[in-house]
Amino acid sequence: MKTSTLRPLGRRAGDLPVAMVFLLPAAVGFAVFYLWPTLRTMYLSFTEYSLLAPPEWIGVENYQKVFGDRLFWNSLQVTVEYVVINIGIQTVVALGMAVLMHRLTRSGLIRGVLLLPYLVANVVVALIWYTMLDAQLGIVNQALEWIGVDPVAFFGETSTAIPTIALVNVWRHVGYTALLIFAGLQAIPKTFYEAAQTDGASEIRMFWRITLPLLRPALALVLVLTIIGSFQIFDTVAVTTKGGPVNATRVIYYYIYEQAFQRFNFGYAAAVCVALFAILATLALMQLKLLRAGETDLD
């Protein structure tokens, strides 16, 4: 480390052009696909914009409407319900799967199988489950009938629609999440487990005392990523329940889509987007702080 501080300053400055060349592609992508749309969305959120006519500046009127909009709060509540079920179950199951892989098998085949649902496009997964879970003709309900259970209208009932969508997406994402956690597990030195085994610790004790504490930074990052991803639930809703029945599955991104692309209220939709952006940014920061994702207990 010492030597680098002694390097002549000119050398470092000389790296700059080369560094710029390497940074440029990513920087262009970031500016074009993230920065500019974000700034434009922020601008549009202060306008009334119906897409087919130029935007008209109206100040904070959209934001005032957002706070008084019953459907905005409903969509937020529905989304949070989705995220809690989706992330809660997904994280626990993925963690279990990752630990089993870590402690029991190194088989590449099993890892591949776990990832399979993730390789199928979201829309296809949603439509296949939608067909399989139909109350009258779905194969799942036929099976339920054989074991004497009355058919359940999984996607059709206001009470079960969101849990159903959340579980369908758990099915698709759990293998992927398990692999992410599995990667984190591999960073834990084997010597800890060997030492614990020598002391006669049980697997369960090792999980709580070794695995979980040392996995914390990796788990924190996985949680931040999956929660942000989970908030963006849209496609499953768009191809199955379309926000209904009533408002039961009108998640926030679907609400934004409806406002923008079906009702042409682009300014208002932009304001909802910015509100969501603020919520997600706060949430991510809080998580990182609370879970001390930047620190590790390995040192």
């Binding site: 119906s50 439509l127 009258q136 329940t241």
Partner: protein
Amino acid sequence: MRRTTRLTAVATILSLALAGCGGGDDPAESGGGTAAAPTEISYWLWDSNQLPAYQACADAFHAANPAVTVKISQFGWADYWTGLTTNLVSGTAPDVFTNHLNYYPEFAGKQQIQPLDDFIAADGTRTDVYAPGLADLWVSADGKRYGLPKDFDTIAVFYNKKMLADAGVTEEQMKTLTWNPTDGGTYEDVIARLTVDENGKRGDEEGFDKSKVEVYGLGLDENNGAGVGQQMWSMYALSTGWQFTDKNPWGTSFKYDDPRFQETVAWWRGLIEKGYMPSLAIARSGTSVNDGFGAGRYALSTNGSWMINTYYGYDGVEVGTAPTPIGPSGKRATIYNGLADSIYAGSEHKDQAWQWVKYLASADCQKTVGDKAVVFPAIPEALTVAEQKFAAKGVDISAFTVQIHENTTSLYPITDHASDVSAVMSPAMDAVLSFEAEPSSLTKANEEVNALFQ
């Protein structure tokens, strides 16, 4: 029989999914106009069933006008409208596209589609050759004409012939059914009779178990009818003499607070309580109403003429059609909805686009379309062609056309703010149908809707 239905369902879903994957990029590519000497104009439509018919028209058009080629693109309904909107914004919309009454007021109001009046005047094109009323639908509130009619649709009742025979209901009876919102009339009698529970008891028999229904007398559409209920409830409500708005087209005050409308909705959802129609939850849980009908879960199903080939296409199901029942007004009712082709206001080839629109609206092209027997062409002589072709396939379309002859049709509600009205009415109707709210709650929804026009 059920297995084939499920297989087709999965196959359809997969192809839909694939179409969905590809749909995002295509509009942008095909939207770009070319300015080369032999002109290519782009044309969009959403119904894949109609693609071969219109391709045949495009080929004939090209043969007659060798300098102009028509490039047809087809997208599923939802992709179609999002794709069209974004292409209108970016100035790359197709030169000509199939337009819908629900969307055109918005496009016309924002000057995105071309008024056709100058072209019509210059060419002396006749607008009175279409079935009565169809051409006028496309004259906007400002008096300008934005489309020429291509086809139309009405609503009728599809029935399963075997189930009818088993229940002792004749096809003749089906043609003379009456309905009222109080006791449902002979229409409800038939629906009850056709409903069968797991023990084989019919809906009108002692000991009928409404919690274990095997076959529902009437199917419930998987789509939310929002404030129009085109193939769901409009034919009942309209037969009471009720109308959607104060005037149609271009009404500014909706009438969802009218007792006749609310009584109709109350009767309709009452069928769920009686076990004659599936609950909203069941209808929304995965399969379409037509697939449910095809799988033998429903004996009757109200639907539009655009669904004829689907309903008649199920293996092993003998299908018939009857007109919608005669209501308290003494007349039947159905929504009479017409489609038309419009020209994009930003098109670089408006003259060629007009030639194509004129050809699409001509007897020549409409006879070509009628010959394929997929929809009802707007020109009566082309409709006759379609009628014969449908008949050759064993389909009698008189249940759909009788109301045009008897003059009992009502226009599709054409208003401004159509998408906002739909956004209010969709959840409101869902709430009533799922028994979370009473039909009287629609009065409040009506206030919300009418506030849009203030």
